[in-house]
Symmetry: D2
């Protein structure tokens, strides 16, 4: 058995004139790498550097100025299920964060249809790989095993700002309180959103939207009659979705694998769309369990 | 090393005329056991049989009629931090459920003070021991390890009704959407509640209430400046609490060990109160980590 | 997204005249299913029913008589790395157990070469999926999480007999003490074997055998300079191997995914060999981490 | 709730003239701290600095010379079950390592009685806390969850040398192959040892030794009829033991909590012995499950 790869310098990589470049560096460093390839390759950036629509948003979330303002308006936000048409012709993709992916896919179509309005109360539970592989005490096995807790609640997490920006591009949403929780999963993310129903939408209307989402998107699976479970999507690029109407409110449930649909899987999905490949090429629809 | 105990029939136990009886049977069976001892012993019931204030509430949650209506109004709801004075003279304790314990302790004082109002959006994450030790497929290691998901959301879980009943005894709360999530913890429970701020309450007011809660209750720990983590309370009877104000809303965070403060620890705490013992007797305040 | 399958009765399945049948039933029931297809299909049996070379061995391990003695000598033991040539023309495969797979692949070539002799001291650690999905108390999350222990040690486990039988078909091995340990993994198995070195074999000889094993077998990965880790093979059909010489003894280390190379992956591998497909068809060589 | 402690400099601590000092620093640093208190306090060192009987042994395991040769022969190896009488009058305790504790307690009495002889094949499985809380990649949750593997096998682990030294103080043991395995437990350690039976010892003789071990030692629990499970000792200072005779070999099984009986619990146990307290003071005999 052998599996080979070769580490290249950016210059060596550039000399190879790649058709597509995936950048998965920390923010700022990622923008710098992307900029080197922007004139010759399709660039899919997994960092947050090209996700903000305004320099203010970026500064608020990351404390930095835009490094390459001229590239910002070329970037398409890579939420495939929402921006598929824009992605088809894109040269630079701002691949979404994991929390935004898990929450926006069910939320945006409902906002667009005028069926929900804020305030949105969003709670997400994420596996530890969401925090990367930095060797820090808080991410040690002995700290995370048999442990759970909220962190950066309300409006503190950078992804709250990303969700808020994207939602408000679709419809005015009064406010979003977003609270992530770190739980002892290796990979996996579930989200539970509560919104106010608008426009007299009925249960059947939500059902219709979710059916349509499933029909139009190969990775959306509508778990009618049951609730999304993170295990079912582990190792896949799927997002499992369902909803429940409670009086004047609707609850939205979703599950993704934060490393796949929440990061690298979505990046490959975007590549597939850009290059006209079948959208599921190289990506799994079925978990292994 | 030896540790002995002897299994007795209810009749043998009754003949011993015990000062205190802990009943930890399934509902209905628990009421029947409690009734046998109600005239001679202090009875602490860990089931839900004596928690409902009306037969309608009980029927709605458990599908049954009250077996012993005459005992129901003798029962004191054993949320020690809220009903300590009533518990002191009680002969029959309805020990609270784990989710109600984790949510009501921070919520009730704020309701009482008129500082919050509904709707309440409550999300809880519980370890697997919360579901007991029944040998069912859904609780197998291979099903729960590396898996997470919501269940019985909104108003479906029996504890939603228990929380709603108890909250409304204090103040009218428009509605409660309560969503439990099963996560791969052996024991531990965290809750994140979002409520509307009422009466012009300020951050300093919440701070004051939480300080006072800590001061008056040996098992309440106010984690100022950080958020409750389930690990810190594992094996203890503690509830760790904090809050965060976000505009016109307040978020309440709590962590308990569902098997201790959420069940047997709270039962022992109530026994201590009833018999005039130090409230912390036999209960741990510090986890082992 | 959709994924369909249809449950058939054995008779319906038989009427479809399948080219290959995988039987994954409990022992005895599996033999009965296999027998129905033995005259028309290639049958790959994942149970133990066709693994024993004598009725005495089967009875000793499973307490039963052979149900279909006439089929027994048609069965080929499906340890692909060792019996590949026999498997090529086989009609009935007795797919090996997980512990035998993880231990025999490094052991048999050394026995054949006269480089090791007994007694063999084998210790294996297995994830909980090795015990299946039966709803029994001992396999609950609350029992297995944060718990580990040996079970059926020495000569008690059925797989000790399977390992002993297969090893002694190659060379006389004085004795095998095999001790499995249940550890809190979902899937994965590691084995550590200690044997006496025979025939003056040197470290370089072991190295040579392991290199050759890797070269001749697409799923064997020789982790020179490091020790096999279960994570690296999770989700794959790989077996990772290494060894260490200590004086007159040699230690053999291996890791497999008990559900893949230890069960269904190996079954597919055998199908590939029988039908002349590339041996790796449909099977993964790289884990996801 | 409040729990206070104060960090002191070594000089401040020395000025308080403590009756007992626990040193839990890395080796070398620990010896230096211990030396400061050796003339005035009982010192219990949890590091390896005073465990070696010769400077050669220490150098072989830790690569260093003895810092305080004059203190070395004052140190008593704190394996309470074996050296209780020496510990009673000791001023300096070399608290044993976790692997030696888990293996020597069942092994030494058998060696002393001439009932076993080498070679000893020892396999241990340890939880991740055994490696401490260093922020290194290999100890991250994402590396250790769902992962297992052997490390430092045979004679490579420092504790192999400690076990070998202590065993050979009792009887000549040909060789020890000791292989630790890292498994996804937070805390807990199980060991499986295989030795040759000597002197015609019978099963009843082993039974007798284990019964006696249990009788004479408050933390030894002989799990007759079942095998030790790490969960049963979690949070306690217990060591659970059993054995199984297989032909001319005997298998020894044990389970400890590596942080308790394998480290700090044993240190407290030694303090209790030195100061004439009940040996179980402050230590738990029963886990929480």
């Amino acid at each position: 058995m052998s599996c080979g790869y070769k580490l290249l310098s950016l210059e060596e990589a550039k000399a190879m004139n790649p058709e597509v470049v995936f950048a998965a560096l920390p923010h700022k460093a990622s923008a710098e790498a992307c900029a080197k390839f922007a004139d010759q390759s399709v660039v899919i950036d997994l960092s947050a550097d090209f996700r903000s629509k305004t320099p203010e948003n970026y500064k608020a979330a990351y404390g930095l100025d835009w490094s390459f303002p001229e590239l910002q308006d070329k970037a398409v936000y890579g939420l495939t299920e929402w921006y598929r048409q824009d992605i088809q012709g894109a040269k630079l993709i701002a691949n979404p964060g994991c929390f935004p992916t898990s929450t926006l896919i069910p939320l945006l179509p409902l906002l667009k249809a005028g069926m929900v309005q804020g305030p949105a109360i969003i709670n997400s539970m994420t596996g530890v790989s969401g925090a990367g592989k930095k060797a820090v005490t808080n991410l040690l096995y002995v700290e995370r095993d048999e442990n759970s807790g909220a962190y950066n609640p309300g409006t503190k997490h950078r992804h709250q700002k990303e969700i808020f920006q994207e939602a408000n591009l679709v419809a005015n949403l009064e406010s979003i309180l977003f609270t992530p929780h770190l739980i002892p999963l290796k990979r996996g993310m579930i989200s539970t959103q509560v919104l106010n129903i608008a426009g007299g939408a009925q249960e059947a209307d939500f059902h219709q939207i979710f059916l349509q989402l499933q029909e139009e998107n190969p990775f959306v699976f509508y778990t009618q009659g049951s609730l999304p479970q993170s295990r079912n999507v582990q190792g896949t690029n799927r997002i499992d979705l369902s909803f429940q109407v409670e009086g004047d409110k609707v609850m939205l449930f979703s599950a993704i694998d934060n490393l796949m649909k929440g990061a690298s899987g979505e990046a490959v999905q975007n590549m597939n769309v850009i290059f006209g490949l079948d959208e599921t090429t190289g990506l799994r629809l079925q978990g292994e369990v």
